[in-house]
């Protein structure tokens, strides 16, 4: 689909601006190489950057990361910071999958020592970690009382139940739980959906991937993160499941109705929002925090199940396996953070929809272990090529409200990708790429084949050139499970 012609001005080598026009309150800014930019003109994502610039209280710029692509309301890869007094909060600016995110786990193993056991390992992980699609059940099943505890405590709840270890909590954004969660604000339907899905992966682009360290770019940082060549690592990508989707849907309805009351008019209903200070805005933030906590608990349970799978198949001790969480990032979230705007320190509500926080070395919200190197950023690519570990840099605070890219970014519609996949034996194709794959639906695999995505190398390189985040290591996928 061809997008409309939108005029762009070059600001830096990899930074482009859409000047203010019409109802835009701030300019739009897009991080992209010329090659990535050419692809953007094919869809409506630049118009979505402009639409976000209409939101009341937006400061600086409506930003887009280089993995930007056409979403609903916000573009995927969009970042928007709102000031707290006049600004708005938009559930669509967070997305249906609240706190969709990625975590990276390292092991003491090298790929060459487990290569022969990959098929059995993937089969075991597939049986231990359900997709949770339809009526398929959760691990563990919850009572309603227990679910509310989970919603308040996030990953802490999972650790207290025996999933993972206390030290894991130091390696997550917010320690794996936002403090302002209020489960009483979630609908009965959202809570009912949540009961069945803790420890489930979901479908679409969600996955658990076993990778091996293929290349190290910054050896001192890699050493600080205990990475070494050929090391086996695990990436887990999932979010808050049906509980989060339902919460977004519930609050979109609330905000669509309330916007008239606040005199807010927008070019796209999916941008529905209310003032952050309004009762609706405050309720959404507390409901969103509950769903975000659910996502952290979900990833924690899945990680623990994965550890069990490795121990069982490889028949080694936990000490020999060395399953260790490097970091857990959110890429669909709104957070209250401090940033400097026009020389003044201000508290802002930063929406990141398909964008990752990338705080620099020394930032108080970076875990103690990473104070010297900066916040780890996890950027999965498509399942056949490679994924990246980056660290945040100071320029992120100056140019992107402490944000960077989150993935490869799609270039092909799901329908088109399925057409391109016709006649391809997916198992053989993945095997040719050296990946053992186990999946629930061929349709999802056909939609998610590497040809549907930008080359994530180009995406991370853009942010490296812009000084926002630096490449630390690249991982090659060797096994994947998908819903």
């Amino acid at each position: 689909m061809a997008g409309e012609e939108i005029k762009l001005e070059r600001i830096e080598n990899c930074l482009w601006e859409i000047p203010r026009q019409g109802g835009m309150r701030v300019p739009g800014r897009i991080f992209a190489t010329e090659k990535l930019l050419a692809g953007l003109k094919e869809d409506n994502s630049l118009r979505q950057v402009m639409n976000v610039a209409h939101l009341p209280g937006i400061v600086g710029y409506s930003l887009a990361m280089p993995d930007i692509h056409w979403g609903y309301g916000f573009p995927i890869g969009g970042v928007a910071a709102m000031e707290l007094n006049e600004g708005v909060i938009s559930p669509g600016g967070v997305g249906y999958d609240i706190n969709c995110g990625v975590r990276l786990v390292t092991t003491h193993l090298t790929y060459s020592t487990i290569q022969r056991k990959m098929a059995g390992l993937i089969e075991t992980l597939f049986s231990l970690i359900p997709s949770g699609v339809g009526s398929e059940g959760a691990i563990p099943g919850l009572s309603k009382t227990e679910e509310k505890r989970l919603l308040r405590d996030g990953a802490r709840w999972a650790v207290a139940q025996g999933y993972g270890h206390q030290q894991d909590l130091d390696h997550m954004e917010e320690g794996g739980a936002l403090p302002n969660a209020n489960p009483e604000l979630l609908s009965d339907r959202a809570l009912a959906r949540g009961l069945k899905q803790v420890g489930t992966l979901g479908s679409g682009n969600h996955f658990l991937e076993i990778g091996r360290v293929e290349e190290i770019y910054l050896s001192d940082v890699a050493q600080a993160l205990n990475l070494f060549p050929d090391q086996v690592v695990v990436l887990i990508h999932t979010g808050s499941r049906g509980l989060g989707y339902q919460t977004c849907e519930d609050f979109l309805k609330v905000m669509n109705q309330a916007m008239t009351k606040y005199g807010i008019q927008l070019p796209d209903r999916q941008l529905a929002c209310t003032p952050i200070k309004s009762p609706e805005g405050q309720d959404y933030l507390a409901a969103m925090a509950s769903a975000a906590n659910y996502a952290w608990a979900n990833r924690q349970v899945i990680m623990s199940q994965a550890e069990k799978g490795f121990l069982k198949v490889l028949d080694i001790s936990p000490a020999e396996l060395g399953f260790s969480l490097i970091y857990d990032v959110c890429h669909n979230i709104a957070k209250i953070e401090e940033h400097v705007v026009d020389g003044q320190r201000r508290r802002l509500c930063v929406h990141r929809k398909g964008a990752t926080r990338a705080f620099p070395p020394g930032h108080p919200q970076v875990p103690k272990a990473y104070q010297g190197v900066g916040q780890p950023v996890l950027v999965p690519g498509d399942m056949g090529r490679y994924s990246y570990l980056l660290v945040g840099c100071q320029a992120a605070m100056e140019k992107s409200f402490g944000s960077t890219c989150h993935g490869a970014g799609r270039v092909m519609s799901r329908t088109q990708s399925k057409k391109e996949s016709r006649g391809i034996n997916i198992d053989q194709e993945m095997a040719r790429r050296g990946v053992v794959a186990r999946y629930q639906g061929r349709g999802t695999m056909a939609e998610e084949m590497p040809h549907a995505y930008k080359d994530v190398a180009e995406v991370v390189e853009t942010m490296d050139l812009a000084g926002i985040s630096k490449k630390v290591a690249r991982f090659r996928p060797v096994g994947v499970i998908k819903g």
């Binding site: 994502s45 669509g92 999916q270």
Partner: protein
Amino acid sequence: MTDKQKAIREIEHTADLGLEIEAADLPGLFASAGEAFYGLIADPTEIQPKEEISVSATGECWEELFHAWLCELLAQFNLKGFIGKQCRVHRVEPGRVEGRIKGEILDLKRHRFHTEIKGVTYHEFKVWHENGKWRARVIFDV
């Protein structure tokens, strides 16, 4: 290709999945949208009409009603795993829609699963009457 299939078109969207539906009347529009929606989740040829459920939804205008209807079908799938094959809508009036859906519980061992739908978005969402036909456009987050 049946008349019903002809009246449903998948929208090309980079990240998500969308549908355009056309029908002679509102009950037909709601029923066709329901069947097309289920067809995005799993292969409808493998679903058997073993059970029948009643579904209703409320909304202030046709658009809100249509949106609420699809949200209700999505919730029934997510809560019970119920996937429809045949939708029959027997009442559409301002404020309320009621229908009965024949289908069964999704069984991942027997049914060809396509993808999970996260939400019914309002992005470019539209229900309108044109040239004697009812039309709707909807994009799902997947």
